[in-house]
């Protein structure tokens, strides 16, 4: 059932409805005039005419009085618009209006399909979460998967296929594909080539095989800009050429060394499993677990989330990473006393890294000390030879079979990119089919797409957007979204997962499988039939339709992962490979900078450029939104003329009091980076922690042709991407121009100023005194926060403390409302079951700052995007944010210069639901108050927008709708009501289909903030009460629901639940010495508390610090004990 608003008397009214049936009077006259009025009174009221007459006469007179008081002012304007209820003609099965339906599917990716559960309301997908049943990821997703639901409703997606610029029907496309098949059939596909984006789909693989049978001379190559298959290639070469893949199990790892591998970010294959495994090794529930916590060594060129989590971080230019890997390998061999020759050779190739010798040797010693519990990972961008070295290292340190295992992938025949490029160059390709991807934008510069394009007669492009590639293609075939069409895929470990649609294609799209089957001329052109056949023939031979349905309901096929490799590593092969490889490198300098292109954490390789949620998502480290920047190190900045004292140019997230940072606006100088004659021009940002002569640039921006959101955002770094050098280059120079560029940065102040906001200590400190976190902060030496109740358990406190902090007496959380007469009776009162008390615990020890919670919250809670201009004014709307702080141990030093090599710490921050909320005390209209379950709630309809609450919030988590962000277009906020009403445009209506119907869409002038997903609590409460019926079993069982950020968190850092229940997970999480309240000394008693972070450095390391930087800064800021004067 849905309702729609129509204008009164609109033409849409069915003709059978009497047009004079307007029964809602506009004015008294109308009411009185109706001849049937009196008759109706008597006839309709069953209780008795006289009584009804009496009531209604009074009613009548009152209305008359009111009407006369208005002197005849018509009530037409007050009239409620007539609305309609439109039930189905035939009710579909299993569809209950108002109850969401969940479907399993998976997020298509080049190497790792993420198993998903998608929430649909009336068949509209609205929210995406991971499938918790799939154990390796346990419900983890990444920001791309979570945000991909918005792409479905993107008004700028291709709505129909085009031939040139002319729209063509689906039939025309199919006819053309048929024609192609007939044309190439006689020649066996000579002149036919396919350039595809990689996919894990076995169905696509099967169709490709069929296509190859038809067209044996067809070329099929695949391209992904930031490819993630070097690890597989290395393993494949070493295991006798059989396709092999390394799968890491970080949960079992005690010592991890990452060689430029951002495995907690977005650029590594299987990152979700790595994140989750890593978090398991860092979960500390008690002192024993602290003692066995894993240790992470990171050598990296950019500053990533992985580096922020590191216990030891070595900043090293990307160009030197291969040498470092060689040094590590040599050190491993030397310390084991094996293969002296190879070690000698490798060590000689690592010349120039002598200054890091001690770092490496101590690290290796530690890895070897935990044989079987240590592992080394290499970044996906590093060359195959480095990955082969890593295979060797892992073999030597005993990781194989413990922390890394090798699995056998099915054989897949591909032509390599070079041969495709060559045959195009030689004019041997007549028709090129581009399946997905966007080569006109992201093809390597040295392969020069525009030239290649010119050599091909006909380019047929199948894609989701009409983008750069579509622009000069002969045919642009609109693709369906993955939530619209059947397909399948495999997770990183090979587990077979479905791609199940849950909505019919919104537009005239054709799925990839349909396109290929048309081309192959198979009898089954329907994607569902294709997937079913793959399931029955290739994946699970002999399976029935029932098995397929069970597979769909599970969301993955158990025991379908790739089998383990049984053959041994061929060491002779390895040795000869390594002997030939070249790991030498030269140190970069200001005249020859090392450049690292990274896959952007927000827009990926550029596909998500038109996704507003992702564009507005702050980067985990730089905190930039809506742009990319050339990030340089503080040292390079100084060489380029940056003066700390005057703050003469932009400091990335580093607020000098003066200079070019105003509010959230950074006026960044524009720099020009030149490399091999190619110049990139973009804003320059300083990133502490970068290697001195390293420049890091995210790819994926600067799209020339995309939708309204992504156009004109950032600059493209693809001109610097070459097939020969990949993502890591050397020999660049940078100059600053006199231009400046506005960047929207959401966090200007990077320093905690010695305050105990994020509390960190080393494991050694924790083992000596596990109560250290509670000995920090002002509350540790102020009178106890809960006064006489300080020794109560958390559960007791949550029920007995009075709500709010006003002088007006409010009952305690555990008491019934005083105005309920029944519960005033003491006998009844004794039987009262108090409300559940909600609270949250966030573990800073495992939070990696991956941003998924931010997107999940946005999707669940209908949070609008506001655009770069508004973000620059500090008006972003996201309810949860991630604060990133740098610390060096010395505040004064920080103030004088930019830290070259700081530690970074991340903290998620949303409304903490203070029991004594400061916002409530200043609201003049009681729009923000407490409910009986401990939630600090916002009544939007009461809010008059004074913003006092935001002003009084110590955590700065309240967000104000300065404009009608939902109703108006990003570029029309300042036009007010003169701007377009998005609710009435087609694009706006499309976008509003994503909205969660259980959450109010807020309008202008209203304050909003995290609600603890009150709609989910409410739904679970109601479900439990419906079940309870006439019993008092009304408490929601533990684990019955999760809040959106909790469900999305890949590391399970966020735990939510009933803190009055001592058996709940959240109670147990909070019942920990490391549990502390941010700004606890304010006595606001937040319901969200944090678990302090532990670092686990190795005392033998040269960069060992006894205390984390932030801890030292905190200690440094404490007043020194006053010297007691000597008695005279």
């Amino acid at each position: 059932m849905s309702s729609k608003t129509t204008e009164p008397n609109a033409a849409a009214t069915p003709s059978t409805v009497p047009t004079d049936g307007r029964a809602y009077w506009r004015s008294l006259d109308e009411l009185a005039e109706r001849p049937d009025f009196k008759e109706w009174l008597h006839r309709e009221f069953p209780q008795g005419a006289s009584e009804a007459d009496g009531v209604n006469r009074r009613h009548f007179l009152k209305i008359m009085a009111a009407s006369f008081a208005l002197s005849g002012a018509g009530l037409a304007g007050c009239r409620r618009p007539e609305k309609y209820i439109v039930p189905y003609g035939k009710q579909p099965e299993n569809s209950i209006p108002g109850i969401p339906v969940y479907y399993s599917t998976s997020f298509p990716d080049a190497v790792d399909n993420l198993p998903l559960i998608v929430e649909t309301h009336q068949n509209r997908p609205t929210h995406i979460e991971g499938n918790p049943k799939y154990a390796p990821y346990g419900g983890a997703v990444n920001a791309f998967a979570s945000a991909s639901v918005l792409n479905l409703y993107d008004p700028d997606r291709m709505t129909a296929s085009t031939r040139g610029r002319r729209r063509v029907s689906k039939d025309a496309v199919n006819d053309h594909l048929e024609a192609l098949r007939e044309r190439f059939a006689p020649t066996g596909g000579t002149g036919l080539a396919v350039l595809a984006a990689p996919s894990t789909s076995p169905s696509r693989e099967r169709l490709m095989r069929q296509l190859r049978d038809q067209f044996p001379r067809m070329t099929w190559a695949e391209y992904e800009p930031a490819a993630r298959d070097n690890g597989d290639r290395a393993a494949t070469a070493l295991f006798n050429g059989d396709p092999t893949r390394p799968v890491y199990d970080l949960a079992a790892a005690k010592r991890i060394l990452s060689i430029d591998s951002d495995f907690l970010g977005v650029s590594e294959p299987g990152a979700n499993g790595l994140q989750r495994g890593f978090a398991k090794g860092r979960k500390v529930r008690n002192r024993d677990e602290a003692a066995t916590m894993s240790r992470l060594y990171v050598a990296e060129s950019p500053f990533t989330s992985t580096g922020a989590m590191a216990d030891h971080r070595l900043r090293l230019a990307s160009s030197r990473m291969a040498s470092l890997a060689a040094l590590v390998a040599a050190e491993v061999l030397d310390q084991l006393g094996q293969e002296r020759d190879l070690a000698q050779n490798l060590r000689s190739q690592a010349a120039g890294l002598e200054s890091h010798q001690q770092w490496v040797s101590e690290c290796v010693r530690d890895l070897l000390a935990e044989r079987g519990g240590s592992v080394v990972l290499a970044g996906a961008h590093l060359p195959v030879a480095v990955h082969q070295l890593v295979v060797l290292i892992n073999e030597k340190i005993g990781a194989n079979g413990h922390t890394v295992r090798y699995v056998r992938k099915p054989r897949a025949r591909r032509d390599n990119l070079e041969s495709l490029v060559q045959s195009i160059g030689e004019g041997r390709v007549e028709t090129l089919i581009v399946l997905g991807g966007n080569p006109a934008y992201d093809f390597p510069a040295d392969l020069d797409w525009s030239v290649l394009r010119g050599r091909v007669n006909e380019v047929i492009r199948h894609g989701y957007y009409f983008d750069e590639t579509g622009l000069d293609a002969d045919w642009s075939i609109a693709s369906t979204h993955y939530l619209e069409a059947w397909s399948d895929g495999r997770a990183y470990d090979g587990t077979y997962v479905p791609v199940q649609p849950m909505i019919l294609p919104l537009f005239e799209g054709i799925s990839e499988l349909e396109l290929l089957s048309r081309l192959a001329g198979t009898s089954r052109a329907d994607a569902f039939e294709i997937v079913l056949e793959t399931f029955r023939t290739d994946v699970s031979p002999g399976a029935s339709r029932h098995d397929f349905n069970r597979f769909l309901s599970e969301g993955f096929l158990a025991d379908s992962a790739f089998p383990a490799v049984t053959t041994a590593l061929s060491t002779s092969n390895l040795r000869s490979v390594l002997a030939r490889a070249d790991f030498r490198s030269a140190a970069p300098s200001s005249g020859s900078l090392s450049v690292r292109l990274v896959k952007d954490t927000k827009v990926g390789d550029g596909f998500y450029a038109n996704n507003g949620w992702l564009q507005e998502l702050p980067d985990p480290m730089t905190k930039l939104t809506w742009d990319n920047a050339i990030t340089i190190s503080p040292a390079l900045a100084r060489e380029l003329g940056y003066d700390v004292k005057s703050g003469r140019f932009l400091i990335g997230g580093i607020a000098a009091a003066r200079g070019n940072v105003r509010g959230s606006r950074e006026f960044a100088p524009v720099g020009e980076l030149t490399i091999d004659g190619v110049t990139l021009r973009g804003p320059v940002q300083i990133q502490p922690g970068l290697p001195d002569y390293e420049v890091v640039i995210p790819i994926g921006y600067g799209r020339r042709r995309t939708g309204r959101v992504g156009s004109g955002v950032g600059f493209s770094a693809y001109p610097a991407l070459t097939h020969t050098h990949g993502l890591s280059r050397t020999g660049a120079t940078i100059t600053l121009t006199r231009d400046t560029f506005l960047l929207a940065n959401t966090q200007m102040h990077w320093n905690m100023e010695g305050r105990a906001i994020i509390r960190e200590a080393n494991v050694s400190t924790h083992l000596a005194n596990s109560n250290w976190a509670n000995e920090m902060g002002m509350e540790s030496h102020s009178p106890p926060i809960y006064g006489k109740d300080k020794d109560m358990s958390l559960a007791e406190k949550s029920l007995t403390q009075p709500r709010g902090a006003s002088s007006h007496h409010l009952p305690a959380f555990g008491e019934p409302a005083p105005n309920l007469r029944v519960w005033r009776d003491p006998e009844a009162r004794a039987q009262f079951i108090p409300e559940q008390q909600w609270g949250m615990s966030i573990d800073l020890n495992t939070c990696t700052g991956c941003n998924v919670c931010v997107i999940a919250c946005q999707s669940e809670n209908n949070i609008p995007i506001v655009g770069k201009d508004q973000v620059a004014r500090g008006r972003e709307m996201s309810w949860i944010r991630l604060d990133r702080y740098y610390s060096t141990g010395d505040i004064d030093e920080n103030r004088e210069m930019l830290p070259a090599d700081p530690q970074a710490s991340v903290m998620p921050m949303a409304c903490v639901h203070c029991e004594r909320a400061p916002c409530e005390q200043v609201c003049p209209v009681n729009a923000t108050v407490h409910d009986t379950q401990g939630l600090n709630v916002m009544a939007y309809n009461r809010c008059v927008g004074t913003r006092y609450c935001a002003n009084n919030c110590p955590y700065k988590v309240r967000r104000f709708n300065f404009f009608d962000y939902n109703k108006r277009a990003i570029d029309e906020f300042y036009k007010g009501p003169l701007g377009r009403n998005l609710y009435k445009t087609e694009g706006g209506i499309l976008a509003s289909m994503q909205r969660n119907p259980d959450v109010t869409v807020r309008m202008r002038g209203v304050m909003e903030k995290c609600t603890y997903c009150t709609q989910r609590i409410q739904a679970a409460r109601i479900a439990q009460k419906v079940k309870a019926r006439d019993s008092n079993n009304i408490h929601i069982p533990e684990g019955a629901f999760k809040v959106a950020c909790q469900a999305a968190c890949p590391t399970e850092s966020i735990v939510f639940g009933d803190i009055s229940n001592t058996e709940s997970a959240v109670y147990k999480a909070k019942d920990n010495d490391r549990d502390y309240a941010v700004l606890g000394y304010l006595n606001v008693r937040p319901r969200t508390t944090y678990l302090a972070r532990l670092r686990n450095p190795n005392p033998a390391m040269p960069d060992y610090r006894k205390y984390p930087g932030s801890y030292e800064e905190y200690k440094g800021m404490q007043p020194q004990p006053r010297a007691v004067p000597e008695p005279a």
Binding site: A23, Y84, I85, V822, V929, L935, K1025
Partner: protein, 217 residues
């Protein structure tokens, strides 16, 4: 020149001011008092596209509410039935009736009938039917004696104050669970029922939400 205006004219501005003042106060008071759902909504009785009679179906034929409003005890929405449900009977009864033309069309063409919506809470209010009917609140408390209505009208004001009336005094409204859909039910013994209701509120732990989050999300 003679005085154009008599001396009493001096009072006219004051009188005008006084009258305007009274008028303003009356207007504000009138609007505040009368422009409430109690006066503007109750009695709303639009003509529906199909002259469906609850009196005939629910009272005379005794069809249970849930025969048509199938999901009222499972979902927040009490769904209006699909034409299919009407056709369960009307393929046998009143097959040719011209009044059912729209229903037959809807069933055959799967095009919805546009029923005019009578009961509506604002968009920021999330009322849930299931939790009320499963915890002893009858349809009749909000919708009135629908079983006696030829044409459904808006019976209760649906204002927040009206909702809270019940949330503050649940013992006055709950009834045995097997009588929830019996709109004609009245307790045999009012006093005994009041006692029973008070006991049940305690036994079921009825503590209706009075906080904002109970209804606003």
């Amino acid at each position: 020149m003679a005085n154009l205006f008599p001396k009493s004219a001096n009072n006219v501005p004051a009188q005008i001011a006084l009258i305007l003042g009274i008028l303003a106060v009356t207007t504000v008071a009138g609007v505040t008092y009368y422009f409430t759902p109690k006066y503007t909504r109750v009695g709303y009785m639009p003509t529906q596209p199909v002259p469906y009679s609850h009196y005939l179906h629910a009272e005379q034929l005794g069809i249970d509410c849930r025969y048509c409003h199938t999901h009222v005890n499972q979902s927040g929405h009490a769904n209006v039935p699909a034409a299919e449900i009407c056709m369960n009977c009307h393929t046998h009864v009143q097959r040719e009736s011209p009044l059912l033309e729209l229903v037959r069309d809807s069933y055959l063409n799967n095009e919805p009938i546009e029923w005019v919506r009578i009961h509506k809470v604002p968009d920021y209010v999330y009322f849930n039917h299931a939790v009320h009917v499963n915890r002893g609140i009858s349809c009749v408390e909000c919708h009135g004696q629908v079983n006696e209505m030829e044409v459904v009208w808006h019976d209760q004001p649906f204002s927040m104050a009206w909702c809270l009336e019940c949330h503050r005094n649940p013992e006055q409204f709950i009834r045995p669970l097997d009588q929830v859909y019996n709109l004609n039910w009245t307790p045999d013994n009012a006093e005994a029922h009041a006692q029973w209701a008070r006991e049940q509120v305690v036994a079921w732990n009825v503590n209706p939400p009075q906080s904002c989050s109970g209804c606003h999300q």
